[in-house]
Subunit: 407 residues, 2 copies
C-alpha cells in the first residue's frame, strides 16, 4: 500500500479523490500497488463528506508522516504551494501537481530538488488538463529536434472565440454567457488576457528547450480586442481566429508568445473548438503531431494528476529523468520575429487609401475584402519584423486593428 496526501479539496482535489475512488482497481493494477489516500489538507471543514475523517488542517502532519510517499498539490497559487512542495520533496516524498503558476515559476528548481532526493516532481495536469502532453514530451518525443510547439491552451478563450465565429456574436456578449455557464470566471482576466496560456507555453518551452523560460519574458496578448469584424476577415481568408501559445526556434533563437492568430482551415488546430485544447508539435523527424482533449474540468484534470501518482508509485526510489535546468533561457529579440499581419484601415472607399503610402509603410501587401464589411480597407502584409510592423502601425493614420496571420 502506498499512502498519499492531497493538498487542497477544491475542484481538482475533490476530482482526485473521485478518480481514485471510482477507478481504484484500475489504478492499483497500473501502479502495481494499492494507492491509498491517507490525508486531505484543507483549511475548511467538510461535514458530511467522507473525507472529513482524513481531513487535516496542518501541513506538518503530512510532512512528518513517513508513511506518506506521494503528495498531490492541487491548492493552486504560488505560495504556500511552492513551500509545501519543496518541503515534501526534501522529506523524500514525490510530488505531483496541477498548479501551472507554481510549475512555470519554480519548475526547474523543484525538478532539481526532486533529483537530489531521488524522488519525482511531475506536473502533467499543469498544461492541457487531461491531455497527455508533459509525459509524451519527457518520454516519447526524445529523439526529435522540436522546432515548434503551438497550442490552444485555454478552454475559456477557445469557447468564446468558437461562439463568436459560429454565432457572429460580440466578445462581451459571449463572455457574459460563458460566465453564466461557468466556463469563464467572474474575474476572467487570467484567461482572456492570455496570462494562463502564457504560463503553459512557458512550461512547454522550458521542457522542450531544457532550460527555464521565465513567463514574464513571454510576449502576451489576449482576445478582448477581437471583434465580429475580425471574424469576417478570418472567414474571407478561409481561416479562423484562435488564441495560440507558440514556441518557435528559428536560426537557433527561441521565440515564445501568446496572441490571437488567424489560422487556416488546413491547420489541425483550426478544428479544435469549444472548451477543447490541443497542442501541435513539429519535430525534424516526427514531422507534425497533435495532442487533443479536455484542457480543463474537474475529472479530466484529476485523471492527469492521478496518472502522475501512478507513475511516481512505479518509480519509487528512482528519479525519472527530465531535462529542464535552472538558469534562464535567453529568448530571441521579439521585435525581430517575423509574422504576416492583417491590417484594417478606416476608409470610406478603397480609393481613399494611398497605396504608395501603404507600400512605403508595410511593403508589398495583398489587399482583401470581407463580406459584410464597409468603410474599411484591409490588407495582409508579407512577413514583417514585429518591431518594424509596430512602428509602421504607429505612423500610419486610421489603423482600426491588426491581427497576425499564421499561414
Amino acid at each position: 500500500m502506498v499512502n498519499i496526501a492531497v493538498l487542497g479539496y477544491g475542484t481538482v482535489g475533490s476530482g482526485v479523490v473521485e478518480v481514485i475512488r471510482t477507478n481504484q482497481a484500475i489504478i492499483n493494477k497500473h501502479a502495481g500497488d494499492e494507492v491509498h489516500i491517507k490525508y486531505v489538507l484543507d483549511l475548511r471543514e467538510f461535514e458530511g463528506d467522507p473525507i472529513q475523517e482524513i481531513l487535516v488542517h496542518n501541513f506538518d502532519v503530512i510532512l512528518q508522516d513517513e508513511d506518506v510517499k506521494v503528495v498531490v498539490e492541487v491548492m493552486g497559487g504560488e505560495e504556500p504551494a511552492h513551500r509545501f512542495v519543496k518541503q515534501a520533496l526534501e522529506a523524500g516524498k514525490s510530488v505531483c501537481t496541477s498548479n501551472k503558476e507554481m510549475v512555470a515559476k519554480y519548475g526547474a528548481e523543484l525538478i532539481q530538488v526532486a533529483k537530489e532526493h531521488k524522488v519525482n516532481f511531475l506536473y502533467e495536469a499543469s498544461v492541457g488538463g487531461g491531455i497527455p502532453i508533459i509525459r509524451p514530451l519527457i518520454s516519447s518525443l526524445t529523439c526529435d529536434d522540436i522546432t515548434e510547439v503551438t497550442g490552444i491552451l485555454n478552454g475559456t478563450t477557445n469557447y468564446i472565440l468558437t461562439k463568436m465565429r459560429d454565432e457572429g456574436s460580440a466578445f462581451e456578449e459571449v463572455l457574459k454567457e460563458a460566465q453564466e455557464k461557468g466556463y469563464a470566471e467572474r474575474n476572467p482576466e487570467a484567461d482572456i488576457e492570455g496570462y494562463d496560456a502564457c504560463r503553459k507555453i512557458a512550461i512547454l518551452t522550458s521542457l522542450v528547450c531544457g532550460r527555464q523560460v521565465d513567463y514574464e519574458d513571454v510576449h502576451t496578448e489576449g482576445i478582448s480586442q477581437i471583434t465580429k469584424t475580425d471574424f469576417l476577415y478570418a472567414k474571407a481568408l478561409k481561416g479562423s481566429i484562435k488564441l495560440l501559445g507558440t514556441y518557435r526556434r528559428i536560426e537557433d533563437k527561441v521565440y515564445v508568445m501568446v496572441a490571437p492568430f488567424i489560422i487556416s482551415e488546413q491547420h489541425p488546430l483550426y478544428h479544435v473548438n469549444d472548451v477543447f485544447n490541443a497542442i501541435f508539435v513539429h519535430g525534424n523527424m516526427l514531422d507534425d503531431a497533435m495532442f487533443y482533449g479536455r484542457g480543463a474540468g474537474k475529472l479530466p484534470t484529476a485523471s492527469a494528476v492521478v496518472s502522475d501518482v501512478v507513475d511516481e508509485v512505479k518509480h519509487m526510489g528512482k528519479n525519472i529523468m527530465q531535462i529542464w535546468e535552472t538558469g534562464k533561457l535567453e529568448l530571441g529579440n521579439f521585435d525581430e520575429w517575423k509574422h504576416k499581419f492583417l491590417v484594417r484601415i478606416h476608409s470610406e472607399d478603397i480609393d481613399d487609401v494611398n497605396m504608395d503610402d501603404v507600400k512605403k509603410a508595410f511593403g508589398d501587401v495583398l489587399y482583401m475584402k470581407a463580406d459584410g464589411v464597409k468603410n474599411e480597407t484591409a490588407f495582409v502584409t508579407k512577413p514583417m519584423e514585429e518591431g518594424a510592423f509596430r512602428e509602421a502601425v504607429k505612423q500610419f493614420p486610421g489603423v482600426l486593428s491588426t491581427i497576425r496571420v499564421g499561414f
Copy 2:
C-alpha cells in the same frame, strides 16, 4: 556507451540510422548515455553506404555479442522476426520493433519473455507510425476506464478516401494515383481490405483490455466497395467516410472491428485527412482525447522506434510494466453489436418503395436524399444488431449498398 543492433536495412531501418545520426546529441542527452549502432543486419550488401562497415548477414553475431544491449527489429513479417526477437530477449537484450504483424500475433508472449529476463519489449511504431500512442496508453492513461479506442490507423486508405471525397473520384482512379505516388503498394490488399488496420486495433485493444486479442477474431471490412455515390450521401449527412478500427466496451463485453463508417463533421477524426492517422480515446474520467500525426513514412516511424531505444536505455535492468497478458480475450458476439446503417435501395422513384416492407425489415428508419443521386431510395436505420441487419439486407430486394453511420 550503449551498443544497439538494427535488424533490417529497409525503409524503417535506414530511417533509424538516419534519425540517430542526425539527432545524435539530442538522443544521447535524453538517453543519458551514448547510443551507438554497432551492427546492421541485412541479407543484402550496401556498397558505398557507410553502414556497409557495420553490416552483418548472420543474426548470431548480434545474439552472441554481449555488448549489444538493445536490438531494433525493423525487418517486418512474422518470421524470422519473431524468432530473432525472442532469442534476443532471452539473451538479456531489450528489443523494440515497428512490426505490427509480429506484435499483434506475439505481443503478449514477448512482453512476458521480456519481463522474465528483466529487459524490455517496446513497439511504439507498430501503431500510428510517429504518433505517440502506445507509451501514453502504458504510462499516461493509467487511471481511466477506457471504453472506446477508435482510430484512423492506415494512411493509404485515408489518403484514398480523402481524395474520393474532395475530388469526387472513383476508388480505382484514386488507388491508381496513390500507387503512382508511392502512397499505396503495388499489391495494396493489406491496406485497402483493412488487414493492416485490423492488426493495429488488435494491438491497441489488447493493451487497453490487458489481454491478448487475436486479430483473426476482429471483423474486418475494407474500402474497395466504397463509391462516389456513398460520398454524396455522407455529404448529405454532413459527414464523411473514414476507415475506422474501433474497440468498444459495452456492458462488459468487448467488441472490435475495422470497417468504413460515416462520421460526423463534429467528430475530431473527421478532420484527419490525407495520409495522417489519429487515435481517439474515451475514458470515464479523461473524457475524449485524440493523438494525431503521421501514421507512416520513413522518418516519423523511425522517430518512434528510436524513442523506444531511448526508453530502453533509460530502463536498463528494469522492466517497464505493461499489462497485456497471454490468454485470449473473448470478444462479444459481433452479431449482437448495434450500429446505425445507411441503406441504399434501387428504385426509379421513392413511390416504388413499400415503406411497410422497409419498416418490417429494418424497423423505423429515416429516409434521406443526396444531391446528384437518382433512381435510388436511401434511409438510415436506428441502431440495429449486426446479425439482424445482415439478415434483413439478405431478404430485402434491390439493396445497392450499406454503410455504418457512426453518429
